[in-house]
Subunit: 108 residues, 2 copies
DNA sequence: GTTGTATGACGCAAATATACGACACATTCG
DNA sequence: CGAATGTGTCGTATATTTGCGTCATACAAC
């Protein structure tokens, strides 16, 4: 994506982009919804629910973990995944900044 | 991105993905921040603020408009862009669903 | 009419994302 | 120990995104 000029953007902006990118794919949204609904976190369960290969699900889980939206803890043979509220809060806070600073009748 | 299996995902999920994708790029976040800060909406101004070509900015604006995060109205010679709070509210509402349904101590 | 400004559309090349199969590793059970 | 199960990683093919140059259009000023 030609991120040569990525350095010119604020860390703040990149942080938002990172969190948003984690949600920018229906598969990841589905994973999060499943986690939120079931609450249980076994990777295999997610792979069974979604029409995706285990490798793909594992990859998505990794990205979500990297973005800070989920946590993963090893639990013997299985791995436990669950939602990390901090990441959401962070994103929601950032989003709030756009709307609160908004000046409604400036021109439109 | 091999979206052959896209049909299996909920419209709800795809809507979130669409909104999130609009925020998944630092350039677009920068555009939105600029709009939120200045409140004025001339496309050329945005192109001057960012280290991107006008064509690129125009493209980003188009994507943001398609996602429903900004509005664009023609105003004589110039085009007026401003933030559309509805899109944000929609996204924030969706995000809230994840955290509220969260069962904290289910396994982690 | 001609020039300059403001915007958007088309097409291209490079970078990235996505999905998958196959393999390697750890743990549990017989 | 050997088999079975659950996970993660690696390499690869395809689809998409991204950024830019270039061109076409619309309007105002001279």
């Amino acid at each position: 994506m030609t991120f040569a000029k990525l350095a010119v953007f604020t860390e703040h902006q990149q942080q938002i982009a990172k969190l948003a990118k984690a949600l920018s794919h229906p598969a990841r949204v589905a994973i999060l919804e499943h986690l939120a609904k079931v609450g249980v976190c076994i990777s295999g369960d997610i792979a069974n629910e979604l029409p995706l290969a285990r490798a793909t699900v594992s990859q998505h889980l990794q990205e979500l973990k990297a973005a800070g939206l989920i946590k993963g803890t090893i639990e013997g043979q299985t791995v436990c995944y669950c939602i990390d509220p901090e990441g959401y809060q962070q994103l929601i806070d950032h989003l709030g900044g756009f709307t609160t600073n908004n000046k409604p009748t400036s021109c439109c």
